[in-house]
Symmetry: C2
Subunit: 354 residues, 2 copies
Amino acid sequence: MDAAFVGAVSARCAEVVREPLDDLPDLPGLADFLAPAQELTAGGKRGRARLCAAGWRAVGGAELAEPLIGAGCALELFQAAALVHDDVIDDAATRRGRPASHVRFAALVAGGAPDPARFGANAAILLGDLLLVLAQREMRRAADLVPDHRSAALRIWEVMTAEVAVGQYLDVRASTGELLEEPLETALDRSLTVIRHKSARYSVEHPLVLGAALAGGSPGLLASLSRVGEPLGEAFQLRDDDLGVFGDPAVTGKPAGDDLREGKRTPIVHLGLALAAPEDTAFLRARLGDPTLSAADVDRIRAILIGSGARERHESLIADRHRRATEAIAAAPLDTETRSALHALAGALTRRTA
Amino acid sequence: MDAAFVGAVSARCAEVVREPLDDLPDLPGLADFLAPAQELTAGGKRGRARLCAAGWRAVGGAELAEPLIGAGCALELFQAAALVHDDVIDDAATRRGRPASHVRFAALVAGGAPDPARFGANAAILLGDLLLVLAQREMRRAADLVPDHRSAALRIWEVMTAEVAVGQYLDVRASTGELLEEPLETALDRSLTVIRHKSARYSVEHPLVLGAALAGGSPGLLASLSRVGEPLGEAFQLRDDDLGVFGDPAVTGKPAGDDLREGKRTPIVHLGLALAAPEDTAFLRARLGDPTLSAADVDRIRAILIGSGARERHESLIADRHRRATEAIAAAPLDTETRSALHALAGALTRRTA
């Protein structure tokens, strides 16, 4: 059943990205522009689409309905837009083990252009814009299929898409400039706020609630699902942060230690700074955010995060949120099938390795 | 009357950009993120909003109606999004005589961050994303106010927003790499195609037709307005290209010769390459696209474009399109007031100095 849904979402994404402009002639160069988007939207775990389906089914929506497939596709296109811009922002070389979009664009003109990297970044900015526009269009069309629930669904979508941009800015801003000397609790609170707005709500809570809204869920049910999605989203992102430091590149598709080179001010980093021995804290302060960080540096940082107990404390943050999500699932007015689907998603989102 | 409409659009834009996220807490750092957007949306000629109003009124829409104000605001927010990303792509220092958004963001962290310019570009990518999302939301709300015309209006909006991203890509791609040896007509055709998709339709035709669709205009009337807007949009962009070379920075708010430093493959450049004497053509080929182009270089390029007759030919392209737009206004089923409003807009769009 889930495979059929994911297949339908993938097919819809492929269709949208193959011919994004119904009424435009086949412009020379358009195929080059779309190629990275086609690759990007063909893959991925479809986590947000699955969460949307879980929300939809929690209200009793049919398993393979058109509005759900459209919303799932919209979420995946929006995620692709975010990834394309993210990879420019982080100057990431790879995504899911393949060259990032801006790297692919740069390769297109290598040898001919004076500055291929700049062309690559510029083309990727525009591709992200296109994907964002296509995502909105898909969502609008999906919502039009359920006139009575259209407004409620679009409002969630609009909050989600605006919030990600704001949260991402807070993340980029926090990673720029000096690491403050401050109590651990202050730093943790701030970094958890950033996580919530840039990723946690968008990755879990909003897709789950969007699906339920689209199926006409009551305000009470939507609020119950928010209480499931909020801690689960935080757990998801904290797991992502752990994988950003400790993940296996062969599994994550991202180079090891990129978050450390970028100097991301994640909760695990703040835990490390607070709990490590003074000379280790000095090392972290000196090396985090250095784009030339070597594999040995990354190994030492990993050892510090483990040895200081920071990683263990971080795991307890994840476990705590997983527990809260589990309690919220138990408390929500859901049928047995939905409960077990949500429990399975909660496990998958917090225990994943990629 | 027009002043009242423009005032209402400006007030709406200010409101949206001041508090873009209704249900989010006042996050620290958010004010810094929004400041460049507030400045950007406070100014501008409101050309697209005015065209939308002309289309709306062509169908007999009331002068200061809510859907029109909302759509006007959506167009201005979308334009702001495009400008923020454009300025990153072109690495433009200024916009309307003030530092570009990415330059303002860079200044925010100057002294503290290892690479302020990179932070500036990254923050501007995210601000453009936020503005794009807010523009869509505004347009959706405006369209919701006219349920019977909602779909027709949103379809035009969706074509417009997707087409700009594609057209911009074609523009960036064309400016990268070698100048081909090819017949003038081939080069002109190609550069006019780029102009059409990246700017001409978006700057004139789509806003005009969007306004008419929102007011419930018939397919026949919409097609008539398209025939006005298409040549007028091309004339608008050709005038823009001329100003990019010959404009007074004190009036345009952009540094002189930036289009030449960027190596934009505009029709006027192709005319210059084809019509100039061999040593001048060689100079153009050697220097166009060089970011270090001096004021003397820019002066020489201007002299070449004038002396070769390229600028005059370019003016005749503009005049030809202005004439076609005038004929289309005469042929369209419009009342006298709308005709004279469109004639005034046609003059303003093609004879402007900024």
